[in-house]
C-alpha cells in the first residue's frame, strides 16, 4: 500500500484538510472520503465525463486527477455548482428541456456546461456540441442536452444583463 499525504484545498468554497493515499484519484477522494456522491464513476479513464469537476476554474475528469494534486487548489463539484446561480439556470433548463433520463451522466454534464457557458457565453450549437464531446450519455441522444445548455446560456446572459441594469 502506498504512502499517505496531507493536503489542503478549497472545496465548494469551504477550506478542507485531508490525508489521502498518494495513489488515490480525486474521484475516489470525493466519493469515498468526503461522501460527495454527485460526482460519478463512469469509466475511470477520462472517456465519459461523468466525474467532471472544476479545478481552478477549468473542468477536468476527477478520475484522472491525483487527489494529492488537489493540494492548494480550488475544487467545485456538482454539489457546489448546483447551488450557484449558473447551476440553477442549468438545472431549470435541463429539467424543462427534458435533458435528463437515467440521470447518471447529468451531474458531469451540468458541471461541464457551467464551464462551457462561462467560457463561451454566446456559444452556438457547434460550440456546445464540441464543448460536451467528453461527456457520454446513453439515454437522450444529446439533442435535449444541447438545447438545455443553449437555454441556460440564454438565461444566464439575461440574468447578467438584468444584473448590470
Amino acid at each position: 500500500m502506498s504512502a499517505n499525504c496531507d493536503i489542503a484545498f478549497t472545496l465548494n468554497g469551504v477550506k478542507r484538510e485531508l490525508t489521502v493515499p498518494v495513489q488515490r484519484s480525486a474521484l475516489e477522494m470525493l466519493r469515498e472520503q468526503l461522501g460527495l456522491t454527485g460526482t460519478k464513476y463512469g469509466c475511470g479513464e477520462g472517456e465519459c465525463g461523468a466525474c467532471t469537476i472544476i479545478v481552478d476554474g477549468a473542468t477536468v475528469n476527477a478520475c484522472l486527477m491525483f487527489a494529492v494534486d488537489c493540494d492548494g487548489r480550488e475544487l467545485v463539484t456538482i454539489e457546489g455548482v448546483a447551488v450557484s446561480e449558473a447551476g440553477e439556470h442549468l438545472r431549470e433548463a435541463f429539467v424543462a428541456n427534458g435533458a435528463v433520463q437515467c440521470g447518471f451522466c447529468t451531474p458531469g454534464l451540468v458541471v461541464q456546461a457551467s464551464h462551457l457557458i462561462e467560457r463561451h457565453p454566446d456559444a452556438d450549437e457547434a460550440v456546445i456540441r464540441r464543448g460536451i464531446e467528453g461527456n457520454l450519455c446513453r439515454c437522450t441522444g444529446y439533442r435535449k442536452i444541447i438545447d438545455a445548455i443553449a437555454a441556460a446560456a440564454q438565461a444566464s446572459a439575461q440574468g447578467s444583463e438584468h444584473g448590470r441594469g
Binding site: 460519478k40 463512469g42 435541463f94
Partner: protein, 799 residues
Amino acid sequence: MGAGDTPLARESLIGKRIPKMDAPDKASGKTRYIQDLNLPGALHAKILRSTQVHARIVSIDTSAARRLPGVHAVITAKDVPWQRPIGVAKDHLPLKTDRVRSLRDEIAAVAADSEAIAEAALELIRVEYAPLPAVITAEQALAPGAPLIHPEPHGADASPHLKAPGAPVAFAGKPDNVAMTFDYAQGDVAQGEAESDVVIEDVFRLHYVTHCCLGVSGVIAEFDPSGNLLLYSNTQVPFLHKREFAELLGIDPARIRIIQPPIGGGFGSKLDIYPFEPIAIFLAKITRRPVKLVFTREEEFIASPTRQPVLLKLRSGCRKDGTLTFRTVETLHDNGAYTSWGATTPFVMMQTVSSLYRVPHCKYHTRAIYTNNPYAGSFRGYGNLQATFAVEAHMDKLAEALGMDGLAFRLKNAQEPGEITPQGMNFASCGFKDCLKTAAERSDFLRKQAENRARWSDPQPVKRGVGMASMLHVGGGAKIYPSDGCGTILKLDDFAHVTLITGASEIGQGSETVLSQLVCEELGLPLSAVTVVNNDTDITPWDVGVHASRTTFIAGNSAIGAARKAKAKILAAAAARTGLAQEALDLRGACIVRKSDGERLFELGKFLRGLHFSDRAELVMTSFYYEPPSKHQDKQFKGDVSAAYAWATQVCEVEVDTQTGIVRLLKVTGAHDVGRVLNRLGIEGQIEGGIVMGQGYALTENLMVENGVVRNPNFRDYKLVTAPEIPAMDISFIETMDGEGPQGAKGVGEAPAICIAAAVANAIYNATGTRITALPFTPENVYRALHGAATPLKWSVAA
C-alpha cells in the same frame, strides 16, 4: 367556496411537454444510485474471473487471500455446494465448479473491508487450469467433432431440503452445442417461390454490441438475523427475480425484499440474473454483513450481456406487380457460453419476418449455438434490429429488381388497420402507411434518392445517400409469461395528495411521470399532487417488469383503473352530499365540480378530510390490476402476443467519404405510430435517444470479440456516439388512438433504435452503389466494401 370563484374548465395534461419528476434531483447530483449507497458495516466484494477461454479448473488456492488482513470471506464453488444454475436455460452456475467456458467466468469472490483490499486479495488467489480447445464461432461449434461446451451435467449437489418443487438443481448438459432452436412457418414457401418473378438471397452478419449503461452494474445484499434477504438491485424485473433468488437460496420468495434505487441506464440489460448477484448474496450469507458489489467499467464490458450476434440467411421473392410472395430465414445465434434472453430474440425476429409486411409464405429457423464467447442478453429492440436489417435490405433490392420505387413497393405490401396476420397478430390500430408517407414526404425521399443515384459515377469522393426502413414492434406489452399484468395501489390523503404505488419500475425512461400524468388526468389534480412509489417489493403490487416497451401501456392502464375507482368513490360520496347524480359531477383543478358548467362544489382536500373524519371514516384508497387482452403464443408461435403494435418509418441521410470509408449520419426523418402522445417531452427524448443508439449500432459501436477475448473493453475503443456526431432529427408522431391503450397510447421505448442500421445500409447503397450486409459500418469495414477488399459473407453452416 367563495362566490367569486371562476368555474373550472376541463384541462388536459395529455400531449403536453411535462418535465420528468425526478429530473431536478438528478440535475443537482442528489440522486443516490446503487453506487452511491453505503450501508453501515458493509463489506466490498470483488470477483475473480477466468483468464482462460475454455479450460478445466485443476485447482484453486485461496489460502493466501484468506490470510490477508481485512478479508472477511473468500468463496469458490466448494463453499456454496447448494448453489443452483441460473439464467434463462438454467445452464449457468454463479461460481464455476470444474470448468470455465468463457473469459468472464466467475471462479472465486472476496468480501473485504474495502475494494482495494478485495482487489489485493484477488491477486493472491492461485488457479491452475488445464486448457481445452475453444469454440469461437457458431459455425465452428456445429462442425463435426467440435468441442462441446456443456458436455456433462453440472450444477448443485443440493441437499434434499433445498429442493423446491420444479426448481432445476443441475443442468443436464447438451450433446451438440445447440442451446435452443426456434421454428416458425406460415403457408408454403415452396409454393411462394414458385409464384415469384424475382427471388433474391443474401447472407447478413450482425455484430456484438453492448448496453454501456453509464452506471455500472451493482448490487447490495443483506440478511437479517432471521434469514430474510434484503437486496438493493438494479433489476428491471423485481418480482420475477424475487422468485429466482428464492429458488437459488432454497427459501420462500416471501422472505426476499428487493429495493430498486434509481438506475444508471437499463436498455434491457437488467432483465436476467447474472452471477454477480448470487455471489454477493452468498457472501452476505456467509459473512452476515451487508455486501456491496460494483463492477469496474472494464468488468462491465467483459461480464455484462451483449446484443445477440447473428448470422442470417434471407431468401425473399415477389411478383412482377410488387406483391411479396415468400420469405425464408435461417439464423445462427452465437449464444456464448451460457443462455440468457438473447437466445430468445427469435420471438421478435420472426414477427418482423412474418408480419411487418404482408407475406403469405414464411419459414423461419433459428439455432442458438453455444460457443466460448461472451453470452448475450436482452437489449432494446430484442432481435428486431437484426431482423429489420435483413428484411429492409431485401425490400430495397426487390423494389430495384422490379424497377419500382422503394416507397411504392413498401406501401403495396404494408400492413393496414384491422389486419390479422397469419402469425395471429391483430393490428387493431396501424398507422404504418401514414408512417411511410410522412417520413418520405418530410425527407423528400424519392427526389433525393434519384439525385444521389444519378451521381454514382461523379468523380468527387464524398457521396450522399438516403435510405428508408420501417419497423413493427410490440406496443401493448408482450405476453411471454402467463400474465403480462401490472398492479396499482392508489391512496389519496387528507390534503388530496396522491400516493401512486405501482409495480412498474422507473429506469430513467420517465414512467413515473407518465403514470402520474394519467392519474392526474383522471383526478383533475396537478402533477405536484402525486408521489410515486415504485421501488420496493414489500410495498408495490405485482408487475412483470420493465421490458417489451410495455410500461406506459400496461402500467398506464393499471394506474388509470385505480384512479377511476378512486374518482367513482369520491363522486359517489359527493353525489350523496349534494343530491346531484354522480354522472353530473367531475374532478377538476383539485375540486369537485358540476360537470355541466364547472362550478366548484367542494375543494377536494376538504371533502376528503370530511370523508375521513366523518362517522363513516372512509379512506380513499383503491387498487387495480390490469391484464392486457393479449394471448400467450401457442407452440407454433402463433397468437396475438401484444395488445397493440407500434410502427415506424425512418429515413436516414448519410455522407460517405469513399476515400476513408467514414459514413456520417446527417439527418434522420422519423414517423412513429405511437398511438397517442402522452408526454411530448418524454416521447421525444425516447425517440431521439433511440435514434442515436441505433446510430451507434450502425456506425461506431463494435464489441470486438476475437478468440473469445473482448479486445476493446473501454470507452476509448468501444465508441459510443458523442454529441458532435448526432444527426439532425425530424420526428413526426402518427396518432392512431389505439382503442386499448391508455388515452390511446402505445409503447415506444424500443422502436426508435430498430430501423437506423437498416436505413443507413440502404443509404450507403444509394450513395455508392455498394450494398453492405455486415455490420458495423465502421470506416475500415465500409472502405473495404467500397474497394472490393471485404471478405464476402457465405453461409457455410452445418445442418
